[in-house]
């Protein structure tokens, strides 16, 4: 979808190649606090185009807050965020969406009153432009636009293998399927950066395998850059190109999976060694 990303459809494994790649997003010295409580303290890291970047850490480490900062839902008190080479001003979440950042949520945040199809169609909202007048008439431009986007959505439905639940209200779906629909909804936005907040939480092994496959496919076929939060270390190590580790709102490690795995601070954090 992204012209640049499409050129690099095969995921390069070589470190040097990656370093040369363009930066998509850079977080510099970001701090965030609620009242007196510090959620994030002075964190810096970057996300490169085309990679799968994992953010890990124990509960309460500030991972979700970090995602919320990236897509404009929280505004950090300090630090800057650079998006595609430009320092980002303070902005609204919907502006982040229009810049090409999509996400899924830790606790599924689907539109419960709508069907699977409508949920995924809602991801196309930004790409549809027919105004109220045409919508009222329906016949003609509005219908044409709707069909055009329906085609794209059907591609996503095929890709995620959820054809059978197309017209089911999402409230009635199992948790695993809901997560899949949510991924579909984010994909429908054709994002440059896809943020996944615990995409595999609460899933069984088969579901996790399916989800991993979808994530890799999205990254490789569409070339979408992905930042994900996950607790399942096995999954993280297998999927991600680089990992950043947070603990108590601070960054304690950053690097390729195998390097991070060996880091003593990380091991301490996970084992709960007192500070």
């Amino acid at each position: 979808m992204n012209a640049f990303a499409l050129d690099t459809t095969t995921a390069p494994s070589d470190e040097t190649v990656k370093a040369e790649r363009e930066l998509l997003l850079r977080v510099d010295n970001v701090s965030l606090s609620f009242g007196g409580v510090k959620a994030i303290t002075n964190i810096s890291f970057d996300i490169q185009k085309g990679e799968i970047r994992a953010i890990i850490g124990p509960n309460g480490a500030g991972k979700t807050s970090m995602l919320n900062v990236i897509n404009g839902f929280y505004h950090p008190q300090e630090g800057t965020i650079t998006w595609q080479g430009q320092v980002r001003r303070k902005m609204k979440p919907y502006e982040a969406a229009s810049q090409g950042i999509a996400r899924t949520f830790q606790n599924v945040a689907l539109f419960k009153g709508m069907t699977t199809l409508d949920n995924i169609m809602s991801g196309r909202s930004l790409k549809m432009h027919r105004n109220f007048f045409w919508q009222m008439l329906w016949r003609g431009p509005a219908e044409k636009e709707e069909i055009e986007h329906r085609r794209k959505v059907e591609d996503i439905i095929d890709f995620l293998e959820i054809q059978a639940i197309r017209k089911t209200p999402v409230g009635r779906l199992s948790y695993g399927l809901q997560k899949r629909v949510e991924l579909g909804r984010a994909l429908a936005m054709e994002p440059d950066l896809l943020l996944l907040d615990e995409p595999m939480a609460g899933m069984n092994l088969e579901e996790k395998e399916d989800m991993s496959r979808f994530i890799l496919d999205v990254n490789q076929e569409f070339g979408t850059t992905i930042a994900l939060i996950e607790h399942d270390m096995g999954v993280v190590m297998d999927l991600s190109d680089r990992v950043v580790v947070l603990d108590y709102g601070k960054k304690i490690a950053d690097g390729p999976p195998e390097e991070v795995q060996a880091n003593q601070d990380v091991i301490d954090a996970y084992l709960g060694v007192s500070h």
Partner: protein
């Protein structure tokens, strides 16, 4: 024009201090009465999350029952006891017929159910007691009815109605009693537990149904007190139900779950609308009281969406 808006009202307040004090007193009394209605809402919302629209009609219904019984020859104090019993039956009935089957429904559905209850009580109340306004039997209940005037300066005069003083006293007593009830009794603690978390309360063996019947009964008692007080000020009629809407801006200011909030909110609205009407209302032809309270609440909400006593909301995903 600017003079009329920004200076003249204050000049007036200064020049006629007795009148200003009288306005404050009226605002205080109105505020107490609004607060009493709001208190009924708060009790039920706290324990069950139901926004009880029927509180207004419960005020009318309680007042009507009291007066209606008395008209039919029941002595005043016995009528009061019987009315309390009727409110108890009503609370039990509401819990059985309305609350229990609707448990865990979204708040708008519960709100609608209480509006349905309002319709039912209007029809039932008029059917039993007739639609005529009735005189509150304040004297028979031993409530003071006279007034006391204080001279102030040369022409100054402040008139305090004894019934208003009684209303203030009763309101204070009720709030204190509710405070003791909530904090010191077993049922009160159970009630607070329910307010915090239904599931958790259930799991430690608190009966939700019992609690709900009790809060509806408590709200019924508050309604009865309000009905007596307001009835003594004008009279008991179905038009009173509309006055009860005033409790809504009070709730907004005070928050839906805070008893002190209801009192403070009631006073803010009471003072605000009396002072607004008397010193600024004339500029636009008067009668602004019908909406001033709502506008005050609206403006307030724009700056503090969580209400006076609510905690700052941090949105999470």
């Amino acid at each position: 024009m600017l003079y009329d808006i920004f200076i003249d009202p204050f000049v007036q307040m200064y020049e006629m201090p007795d009148f200003f004090l009288q306005v404050l007193w009226e605002g205080f009394v109105a505020g107490i009465l609004y607060a009493l209605i709001a208190l009924g809402f708060v009790l039920i919302f706290k324990a069950s999350g139901v926004f009880n629209f029927a509180q207004g009609i419960m005020v009318v219904f309680a007042g009507l029952t009291l007066v209606g019984l008395n008209e039919n020859g029941v002595p005043a104090y016995l009528a009061l006891l019987l009315t309390i019993a009727v409110m108890g039956v009503l609370a039990y009935g509401v819990e059985r017929v309305v609350m229990r089957p609707l448990v865990n429904q979204p708040e708008i559905i519960l709100l609608m159910a209480t509006i349905g209850l309002t319709y039912f009580l209007i029809g039932f109340g008029e059917f039993v007691f007739g639609g005529e306004p009735k005189q509150m039997i304040a004297e028979q209940l031993g409530l003071p009815t006279g007034s006391t005037a204080f001279e102030m300066g040369e022409r100054g005069l402040i008139i305090l109605q004894h019934i208003d003083i009684a209303a203030a006293v009763i309101a204070v007593v009720m709030v204190a009693a509710l405070g003791v009830f909530f904090n010191k009794t077993r049922i009160g603690r159970a009630l607070r537990a329910v307010a915090d978390d239904h599931q958790a309360a259930l799991s430690v063996g608190i009966s939700l149904n019992q609690i709900w019947a009790i809060v509806w009964f408590a709200a019924g008692l508050v309604a009865l007190a309000t009905g007596i007080m307001w009835g003594a000020r004008s009279d008991v009629s179905f038009a009173l139900e509309i006055v009860a809407f005033k409790a809504l801006p009070v709730l907004i200011l005070g928050g839906f779950t805070s008893i002190p909030g209801a009192i403070v909110g009631g006073l803010i609205i009471g003072f605000g609308e009396k002072i607004g009407e008397l010193y600024w209302g004339g500029l636009v032809g008067g009668g602004i009281e019908s909406w001033l309270a709502y506008i005050i609440a609206l403006i307030f909400l724009l700056f503090r969406p969580q209400g006076l006593f609510g905690e700052r909301i941090i949105e999470r995903i």
